[in-house]
Symmetry: C2
Subunit: 197 residues, 2 copies
Amino acid sequence: MDELLAGKEPRPRERADAARNRAKVLDAAAGLFASRDPRAVTMDDIAKAAGVGRGTLYRRYPDTTSIALALLDEHERGLQEKLLRGEPPLGPGAPPGERLAAFYEAMVDLLDAHIDLVLGAEAGGERLTTGAYGFWRAHVRALLAEANVPEPDVMADVLLAPLASEVYAHQRERGQTSQRIKAALRRLALAATGEGR
Amino acid sequence: MDELLAGKEPRPRERADAARNRAKVLDAAAGLFASRDPRAVTMDDIAKAAGVGRGTLYRRYPDTTSIALALLDEHERGLQEKLLRGEPPLGPGAPPGERLAAFYEAMVDLLDAHIDLVLGAEAGGERLTTGAYGFWRAHVRALLAEANVPEPDVMADVLLAPLASEVYAHQRERGQTSQRIKAALRRLALAATGEGR
DNA sequence: GGCACAAGCGGACGCGTTGTCCATTTATTC
DNA sequence: GAATAAATGGACAACGCGTCCGCTTGTGCC
């Protein structure tokens, strides 16, 4: 209980060489994820590319998924910020269906920009237990509740499912454009919230 | 071109011991998938449990996914038959929204009954390239087209996404009942086809 | 019934990935 | 610059994969 009040430096600050290596690792990993099938990147690959030993890598990250997640994190934070405090329709102020549609559109843009990282991050199929996923679910759930949709808890997971990276990647591979996907998701958002008409 | 007309026995019929082993393998695999995390079952496990060698296993199945798929196949065939030629609302005759809702309900029942197999079958995240998935997509696409939904190709994948085994398993783990999930999906089906009202 | 031959079998092998462990090196503090 | 703690990196054991090939067993024919 005391620790909470104690101070601002619970951990004694990162050592200079450690910080340098963290940067090297993230840098090398970003390159690897972008340059080949992100699901095939191994811990050894990253260690070699970063010029550090396996042990050093495992000290910080338990697996490749968590590295992709770390890289993804900053991009997701930007969107999360906009959802909480940005301008409508992404931020508060617009009707829930419109906000949901805007969220879909932003997520598709995010998938497009970082599909390699998202694929790498979901390699284990553990997306649903991620902190980020929890955020998205809470957001969608709140919008659904605001629109008086029944079973918002179930519906939130349902409406997030199409954003799974495999689904999106598969659609793109089959020739769909992000435009068409966005259009379909917008219609879904409006229909699900009863704003269809 | 001739082979098509040639005869009924392109392959010389399966040997007795081979058939016996196939049965042993499928039997043992079903037990394993049911009794532990299906994603953690290995080819070695199945070989040991079935009392056959690794080579024997690989002769027929390239990986655990295909074994789970083989087990799942007969269950899926039943539903596919009903969709094509069964009574409404599952079969032809009912309005598309109702048929989609009925399809959702049947799929949830199928997930409930064989969640272990479905999890085992999707272990690689290759669900979307499966023959079965192609069938579901074609079915949903046809219903959407019938309801004059725009972008039926995109929408079909979108509306199938919530049926991913991980999503369903995750919802059940979070305390949702199949009842509530069915109810939410029914509403989604009606909303997406414009039969909401 | 016995024989020849193809089909089927199974375990050993080589490979690549994982995660851990610890002797050594390096940064920080006084 | 000495003392201490943190960080490093590569060796190691365990594991799963997929293949290969000498041996066994079923099947069709005489």
